[in-house]
């Protein structure tokens, strides 16, 4: 059933965020440290386990793949609610700081890609 997929996704999501919160708490910072990343790893692990050990059917899978496919529309909605005015009003320090950080980071991608290959 579709809800099994959605519920599995919700379970992974919430457990990941709880772990991220715990991790932040242990390190003494008021931020969720990698919760979404943990949630992704939990989902990968659980879905592989359930596929092998239980009959996690194709329809259940649709409860996850739907959300994966709706991702881009969500990102478009996210773009439409950005505070673009504040960015433009930040003046040269903001533009130079943000712009150089992005540009130089792009240049480093090929260098880091070579590591450990």
């Amino acid at each position: 059933m579709v809800i099994y997929g959605v519920a599995l996704l919700a379970f992974s999501f919430l457990l990941g965020l709880i772990l991220g919160e715990l991790f932040g708490y242990l390190l003494g910072i008021d931020a969720n440290l990698g919760g979404v990343g943990f949630a992704m790893l939990i989902l990968i692990f659980l879905s592989n386990y359930l596929k092998v050990n239980l009959n996690f059917g194709e329809i259940s899978e649709k409860g996850i793949t739907f959300w994966s496919a709706i991702y881009i529309p969500i990102v478009v909605a996210m773009a439409a609610k950005q505070n673009v005015i504040a960015a433009v009003d930040g003046g040269m320090i903001a533009i130079l700081g943000g712009g150089l950080a992005v540009f130089i980071s792009f240049l480093i991608i090929p260098l880091l890609s070579k590591i450990g290959k």
Partner: protein, 254 residues
Amino acid sequence: MMFLSSVESIFITNGVITAFLFVGLIIWFSYFLSNKLTKGKFHGSAIAIIIGLILAYIGGKITGGSKGLADITIFSGLAILGGSMFRDFAIVATAYGLDTKELKKAGLAGILSLFIGVILSFTIGACVAIFYGYQDAISITTIGAGTVTFLVGPVTGTALGASSEVMALSIAAGIIKSILVMVTTPLFAPFVGLNNPRSALIYGGLMGTNSGVAAGLAATDPKLVPYGAMTATFYTGLGCLIVPTLLFLIVSLL
């Protein structure tokens, strides 16, 4: 007239549903432009994201608010659909069926890229702040924190007690970074080899801005989204951890 205002209230009370329809129309129009004007070479989703940003600018101009188009009541559902709950839920969903071998192979480079990413962005922001005449360690650190991400900026600024003017600058730098990552990723991708899981992991670690990476990869190649998102999700946390502490200490000593 009574009828018209009830129709309007239907759109408003069902804000998220209205947002689905509205985003659907933007995406349809974007793919139409992509096919007609660029023969599909420039991704429809990249165009949709740029249209979204332009609408956010217009919305901000009209209302003077901070949530772009979502500050106009009829589009308020965009704030929920595009908020962090749905975004992160969908990002986690993209991890379904991820190639774990790729994750393991690129793990070290991914972790390294996180540290380099935070420190590099911070250093650039701090240098720009110094260049513009800031001399106290708190302001320099706060502006540097903003170029890490627009979340690390205010977290650091609050922790150190920066002035509100510096905080605003720091947040602005972070938003500029995020928007530039959204818009320029599809353009830079071919030149820096951003076309495989490994480089996507590194890209996520270097850029770090969740919204920027999420949109940038969506507009470049949706298959790469989970890899970049995986490292990016640790970036803000790492920034909040080392910027107000270790990096502030280093700036104070210099």
